[in-house]
Subunit: 149 residues, 2 copies
C-alpha cells in the first residue's frame, strides 16, 4: 500500500459522510423516512412549495437524482407534485400533512446527530471544522462547475 488512507482527504471525508448517513438512517427509518429526504423536508417545512430545480440546488444533488427522490416521496405520500401555473415546464413540490407531522421528529433527529458529533469538540474546534469543510466544499464546487463547461 503505497498511498495510505490516513492521509487521504477523500477517503476520510467519504467515510465520515457514509457513517453520518448510516446514523441518520437509524434515526429516520422508524419515522418511515430516509436521509435523502432531509433536504426536501427542511426546505419545505413551513408548508411552502418550491420547484424541483430549487430543491435540486439546495440538496446539492443532480437533477435526475432529485426527480427520483421526489418520485419515491410522492409514491410514499410525503409530497405532492403539481404543475407550476407560471411555467409549463416546471413543477411545484410541497409536503403533505403526513410529512409535515413528522417535521418535529426529523428536527430532533438532526439536532441529536449534530450534538453527538459536536459535543466531542470544543467550541473553537467546531468553528474550525465548519470553516475548513466549507472551504474544501468551495474548492471542489469550483472544480465541479468547471468540469461541466
Amino acid at each position: 500500500m503505497t498511498l495510505n488512507r490516513d492521509g487521504s482527504v477523500g477517503y476520510l471525508t467519504n467515510l465520515a459522510g457514509r457513517l453520518l448517513v448510516r446514523e441518520l438512517e437509524r434515526h429516520l427509518s422508524p419515522l418511515g423516512l430516509s436521509p435523502a429526504h432531509m433536504p426536501v423536508l427542511l426546505a419545505l417545512d413551513d408548508g411552502s412549495a418550491l420547484t424541483q430545480k430549487a430543491l435540486t440546488e439546495r440538496a446539492g444533488v443532480k437533477q435526475a437524482t432529485m426527480t427520483a427522490t421526489l418520485t419515491r416521496m410522492e409514491r410514499d405520500g410525503l409530497v405532492t407534485i403539481l404543475p407550476n401555473p407560471e411555467d409549463g415546464r416546471s413543477t411545484l413540490v410541497a409536503l403533505t400533512p403526513l410529512a409535515l407531522d413528522k417535521i418535529p421528529a426529523v428536527a430532533a433527529a438532526a439536532t441529536a446527530i449534530n450534538a453527538l458529533v459536536l459535543e466531542q469538540l470544543t467550541p473553537e474546534e467546531r468553528s474550525q471544522f465548519f470553516g475548513l469543510i466549507k472551504r474544501i466544499i468551495a474548492v471542489l464546487e469550483t472544480q465541479d462547475g468547471a468540469a461541466r463547461t
Copy 2:
C-alpha cells in the same frame, strides 16, 4: 427552513464526500476505473493477495458491498478471486497485471486530488482537519458498532 444546512455536520460532510467522489470519478474514468475500486487497488498494489474480509475492513464498507464491487472488478478483468487453501470459507483477491499497470496513474490521481484540496490550507489547518475528521469518524464508528449489538 427551521434547521439550516450550514450548521449541519451531516449535510456538509456528506456534500464534501460526494464532491470528492465526483472529482475522483473524473480522474479515474479515463483509466476504466472508479472510486469504489480505490481501497482495493491501494491495498493490493504490491501484488499481494488478501481475503475479502480484510478488504472489507480496509474499505470501511459492508461485506455485501465489497462482494459486489469485487464481482464487478473480476468481470472487468481487474482482480482474480481464488479459493483460500487455508480456509475453505474464504477467498483470496489479487490484482491482475492489467490493474497493476494502472497503479501509477491511480496514485497520481489520488495525489492530485489530495493536493488540490490541501493546497488551500496551511500546514496547521491540514493537521487540524485530519485530527478533527478522525475524531468524528471515531465517534460515529462507536455508534455504528453499538447499533450492531
